[in-house]
């Protein structure tokens, strides 16, 4: 009993802030449960009636995750302030996504009555083959998403474990259970509204985090001076010197370019981001989101992407020697060193928000893909049962994720990145072609999907892992280019398979 009271005394602020946050997201899920249950369109895409600021913040919080706030922030400890180049590429891809895909996707999916990315492929290309594309893409989502979810839960559970001192499995169970509950209750309504709140928290936490090393040292100038020439060792044990503030000294630009392009390309083809466009309510909202989403993302990335380099100013040489090999622990180290319960509590709640916002989005994607695009296409779901089945799918998939999280594969980060490459290479040409190229065909979509996936696998296992000179060229880049070329060539060669003129005119009007 005494130990429990001591524990409460030590962690009360963290417990209050985190419990308050979790209670809020659960309340939002519960609040929307009746509205979400009013029909498939409501549960899947919130009836396309969500204001622009909510979708904008939801897109931002889905685009970034714990990987950004912990993993990428920590990378700068190893690679210096130049790591922000990766953030620049992400910001550019976010803008491209909203400019090129946002308005068209919203309009075309409404015209087609599409609720998911796979059914968009089916209705857009309108044939028996496009029905196969729908099924195939849903299966890709079901398999590729699992590793992403395990990676997110693993990262967030480690934060839980380190700040609360509770077992890792408890953290995983609590995070999955809370996220699953509000997603199952409120469907897309609760996912978007909780994402928006999580987006606000993440934006504030990004600014707060970058202030920590500055306040700790006593000013931005003093901090830059401290990290400008340091005796801390780099990954090979040599003194970093001015490497943290000098371009290209701690890593090659090719490596930064590869990671930046890989993640950026992945993000613009990820169903969890694309489906955000479906729910926006009107022109004013669309314009708002097109302007403000890059603002939320860009400013957060400015704060977060170079953070690790700044933490050198807070670390001793011994601590830096450890952190350079364990960059995922840099943010945790920074919070522990700053040792301010309120600041730590707010940051931890923000890190949970970062993980849960991405997790909820993919939970819904998985549930809708299985029921709407696998069951509906193969065995037909009884009328009125779609929402019930979707809810159960989310619950069962969450249990599977939990089991994998207890013993995650050693290379989970690589698996997550690889699944992202599969999404980008196999989905983007069919989506972009569907939105812009009237002459795009169902066969073009199917072959580009298959060839994108094959190219990603071949490049990774036959070339990238075998030849040192190619290790910095992520599989997403050749696979993306190859699948786009296949889409164009096959569509031009099978022009006779274009949907009827009336259908295309309706879509492109």
């Amino acid at each position: 009993m005494e130990g429990f009271i001591d524990y409460l005394g030590e962690h009360y602020l963290l417990l209050v802030l985190t419990s308050g946050y979790m209670a809020l997201v659960l309340y939002i899920g519960w609040y929307f449960r009746k509205k979400a249950a009013s029909g498939t369109q409501a549960f899947y895409i919130a009836k396309r009636e969500i204001p622009g600021w909510v979708v904008s913040l939801a897109f931002f919080s889905t685009f970034t995750s714990t990987n950004t706030y912990i993993g990428q922030a920590g990378q700068a400890f190893k690679y210096g302030l130049s790591w922000a180049w990766v953030g620049l590429f992400w910001a550019i891809f976010c803008i491209i996504s909203w400019l090129l895909l946002g308005p068209r996707m919203r309009n075309q999916t409404a015209k087609l009555g599409s609720c998911t990315i796979p059914d968009y492929f089916h209705f857009r290309y309108k044939s028996n083959i496009s029905r196969l594309v729908r099924l195939f893409s849903a299966i890709v989502i079901l398999f590729a998403t699992l590793w992403y979810m395990v990676g997110i839960v693993k990262g967030t559970s480690h934060v839980f474990e380190s700040v609360f001192g509770l077992p890792y499995a408890w953290g995983a169970a609590i995070i999955i259970a809370v996220t699953c509950a509000y997603t199952v209750w409120g469907g897309m309504y609760s996912v978007l509204w909780t994402d928006a709140i999580q987006g606000i928290m993440m934006f504030a936490v990004a600014i707060l985090m970058v202030m920590i090393p500055i306040v700790y040292i006593g000013g931005a100038g003093e901090l830059l001076e401290a990290i400008g020439n340091t005796a801390h060792p780099d990954v090979e044990g040599r003194p970093i010197g001015n490497g943290l503030v000098t371009f290209g000294q701690l890593t090659s630009f090719m490596y930064i370019l590869g990671i930046g392009l890989a993640v950026g390309m992945k993000q613009i083809a990820e169903p969890r981001c694309l489906v955000r466009f479906y729910s926006i309510d009107n022109t004013k909202s669309m314009k708002f989101a097109m302007i403000w989403t890059p603002v939320f993302l860009g400013i957060s990335l400015i704060c977060v992407m170079g953070l690790g380099a700044l933490v050198h100013g807070m670390a001793s040489e011994e601590e830096a020697s450890y952190l350079i090999k364990n960059t995922d622990e840099v943010v945790g180290f920074m919070l522990a060193k700053f040792n301010h319960p309120l600041v730590s509590g707010i940051c931890v709640a923000g890190l949970f928000a970062a993980g849960m916002s991405s997790l909820a989005s993919v939970m819904l994607i998985v549930g809708t893909a299985f029921v709407n695009d696998v069951l509906e296409v193969t065995v037909k779901v009884r009328q009125g049962k779609n929402i019930l089945f979707t809810r159960w799918t989310i619950v069962l998939y969450s249990v599977i994720v939990f089991l994998f999280t207890l013993a995650p594969p050693a290379n989970i980060v690589e698996l997550t990145a690889f699944s992202g490459a599969i999404f980008a290479a196999s989905f983007f040409p069919a989506i972009f072609g569907g939105l812009y190229l009237k002459w795009g065909t169902d066969l073009g979509a199917l072959t580009s999907m298959i060839s994108g996936m094959v190219a990603a696998i071949v490049w990774r296992f036959v070339f990238r892992l075998e030849y040192a000179a190619l290790k910095d060229i992520h599989e997403i880049i050749p696979a993306f280019i190859f699948s786009l070329l296949v889409y164009i060539v096959v569509s031009l060669a099978t022009k006779g398979r274009m949907p009827d003129k009336e259908h295309l005119e309706h879509l492109f009007s």
């Binding site: 130049s82 180049w85 400019l99 022109t283 909202s285 669309m286 860009g298 400015i302």
Partner: protein, 36 residues
């Protein structure tokens, strides 16, 4: 900090502003009354 290290920080600000300027001049239209 050298020019290329500082570049991404201010470049993000520049592209955000350029994007806002571009979108404010773009003709965006969302069909609110479209049949689902």
């Amino acid at each position: 900090m050298d020019f290329l290290t500082a570049f991404p920080y201010w470049a993000i600000i520049v592209i955000i502003v350029l994007n806002a300027w571009l979108v404010s001049r773009m003709d965006v239209h969302i069909n609110e009354d479209e049949e689902d």
